[in-house]
């Protein structure tokens, strides 16, 4: 492994709204090495996109990083001036957005948008940039790229837009690629292609990837490590094997047991009751407690610290406290455990 590329250190993000302050991210820390992929999974609204945006410093006006630092290559991004940040964005850090269609300027051709991305950072001629753009479109599996260059976003399907945004992100060979649900709108075959593309890219450029998804199978496919977020916090982080093989947080358990594959056909799926907490007034104690079948009394009083399970595996739940009662994870996970035969730490 290469050195640490990105270090997120206790980041808190607040949104000032008319209703009050929304604490969208409440103390997230992780590290990302060059060439590594970290997948972030979690319920919608738990702050994944906000976290990504805060790394690239493109939070909307109402949002601000209240606390914490983001080190990129050892530089604290939170302290950079907008000008310096512009030099890093696109060149060093690139991002693929959740809603690709609306992220593209509807009045500019696809070509001009890609070319623009290239020419901001590289002083090359228009034609040269065009050649690069065609090449990029080919890379993201868009056929007849030459022709597509002169078309407008509305002439593209959702999946194609997503790939165009990916092409823009890849334009300058970034060191860090942040992909915010890049495959949600895509069907299986294209999703597989894009995942392959990102993987290849990582191999060739040694870029680190922060990959956000809902789809656990996708996360399992692409990531070396997985972070599970809930209500603005990372509740469990570990390698893919550890998370899938030996999940320790009740929320992770609940997520996995909700997968259709874990229920017989045509039978109701298991889902987590209730709703995520309102981040306007985050509950004291464990945010997941109210929906947790294995909640301990202390969960309502005090926030659990991040317990270390292994060198790479951490989970924030009081169940890992020595004083906690012994809990058998829900059956499916247990089965899974047995089948995978992974040892418990």
């Amino acid at each position: 492994m290469l050195g640490t590329l990105l270090k997120v250190n206790d980041v808190h993000i607040d949104f000032n709204t008319d209703y009050g302050v929304i604490q969208a991210v409440r103390g997230v820390s992780f590290e990302l090495n060059a060439g590594e992929t970290l997948a972030i999974v979690g319920e919608s609204g738990c702050g994944k996109s906000v976290l990504c945006k805060s790394i690239a410093r493109i939070l909307p006006h109402s949002g601000l990083i209240r606390e914490g630092n983001v080190y990129f290559n050892g530089i604290d991004l939170t302290l950079l001036s907008p000008k310096e940040m512009n030099r890093i964005r696109g060149k060093e850090i690139a991002m693929v957005f959740q809603d690709a269609f609306s992220a593209l300027d509807p009045t500019c051709t696809i070509g001009s948008q890609i070319i623009e991305a290239i020419r901001i950072h590289e002083k090359i001629s228009r034609n040269e940039a065009k050649r690069r753009a065609i090449q990029l479109l080919g890379q993201v599996e868009i056929d007849s790229p030459q022709q597509r260059l002169t078309q407008y976003p509305h002439q593209f399907s959702g999946g194609m837009c997503q790939r165009v945004v990916l092409a823009i992100a890849l334009a300058c060979g970034p060191k860090l690629l942040i992909a915010d649900e890049p495959t949600t709108a895509l069907d299986g075959t294209i999703q597989a292609q894009i995942l392959k593309l990102i993987k290849n890219l990582q191999k060739t450029t040694k870029a680190a990837t922060l990959f956000i998804t809902h789809d656990l199978s996708v996360a399992a496919q692409i990531a070396q490590r997985i972070a599970v977020m809930y209500a603005g916090k990372i509740v469990e982080i570990g390698t893919t094997q550890e998370i899938f093989g030996n999940p320790r947080h009740p929320y992770t358990w609940a997520l996995m047991s909700s997968l259709p594959a874990n229920s017989p056909n045509k039978q109701p799926l298991r889902s987590i009751p209730g709703l995520p907490p309102n981040l306007l007034h985050p509950p004291c104690g464990d945010a997941f407690a109210a929906r947790n079948a294995y909640a301990l009394a202390i969960d309502y009083k005090q926030e659990p610290p991040l317990f270390q399970v292994s060198n790479t595996h951490f989970a924030a739940t009081w169940l890992l406290d020595p004083r906690a009662p012994e809990i058998t994870p829900p059956i499916s996970i247990g089965q899974n455990n047995n089948r995978r035969g992974e040892p418990n730490e």
Binding site: D215, L255, L259
Partner: protein, 265 residues
């Protein structure tokens, strides 16, 4: 009793955004939807799934072919005009983007009550309110959401509200265009449970469009696979998964593991 609710015969929908280009979004597609079944529609993005549903809803007028709903050829303009009110009532749709299909300036109660207001303008308001509360409950929403606005809810809840609205008129056919695409697994589970429950309890017929094969496999009775505007394969769920015929179906099935858990890295 005729158990075919909807029949689509050789449906064609071409777009000509400018005279030199013809986009064959749907090209000669035929299938039937039986009463009480959930028919899944999967396929490449841009393969015309949404277009088919829009044709059924009457948002596009088909270039060719017929859509027969309860033995009325609703693809014909004259026929459609005549029975429009009853067709609109019997077919309801959950849009791909549920949030966008709700007026941000209306409360959830108003949104769900809208079809009732259109079809039963005379209905006393407290009865309407009661119906809406009941619907929201059916869709698994708490009644406290009645006076709140769409942006205060999560994606899964948006889908549920849309389902509640779609159910308001007791439709015979529900078209669900990717209702779970952008939801997390637990939300996804909630929606799927709701649809299954409705099928079981109310005999709802549903055209279910999705990308996620594991979801489709879980709830659909039959599945159609689309590619480039054509329906390349349609079969019973188990048959399709165990014995895919078309190369695209095969590619699709092999591309993504159905569960992350049996995908050791």
């Amino acid at each position: 009793m005729n158990d075919t609710l909807l029949e689509i015969r050789h449906l064609k929908q071409y777009f000509t955004p400018n005279p030199n280009i013809v986009i064959k979004a749907v090209d000669d597609v035929s299938f039937t939807v039986k009463r009480g079944e959930i028919l899944g529609l999967v396929g490449e993005s841009g393969s015309g799934k949404s277009t088919i549903s829009k044709c059924i809803m009457g948002i596009h007028r088909p270039t060719g072919g017929e859509i027969v709903f309860q033995s009325h050829t609703i693809s014909k303009r004259g026929v459609y005009r005549k029975i429009r009110a009853s067709v609109c009532r019997s077919i309801q749709m959950i849009f791909q983007d549920a949030f966008a299909s709700m007026n941000p300036r209306m409360t959830i109660g108003e949104i769900v009550a809208e079809p009732l207001r259109i079809y039963y303008p005379q209905m006393p308001s407290n009865e309407r309110k009661q119906r809406v509360h009941h619907l929201l409950k059916t869709a698994g929403m708490d009644s406290t959401c009645y006076d709140r606005y769409p942006h205060e809810f999560s994606g899964g809840q948006h889908q549920r509200i849309c389902i509640a609205r779609a159910l308001a008129l007791k439709p015979q056919l529900l078209i669900a265009d990717e209702p779970v695409a952008s939801l997390d697994v637990s939300m996804q589970a909630q929606i799927i449970n709701l649809l299954l429950q409705l099928q079981r309890e109310q005999g709802l017929t549903c055209l279910f469009i999705a990308h996620d094969l594991s979801v489709v496999r879980h709830i659909c009775d039959r599945i159609g696979v689309m590619k480039d505007g054509k329906l390349v394969e349609i079969a019973q769920t188990e048959k399709l998964f165990t014995n895919p015929q078309h190369p695209y179906t095969k590619a699709l099935l092999s591309a993504v593991p159905l569960s992350p858990l049996n995908n050791p890295e």
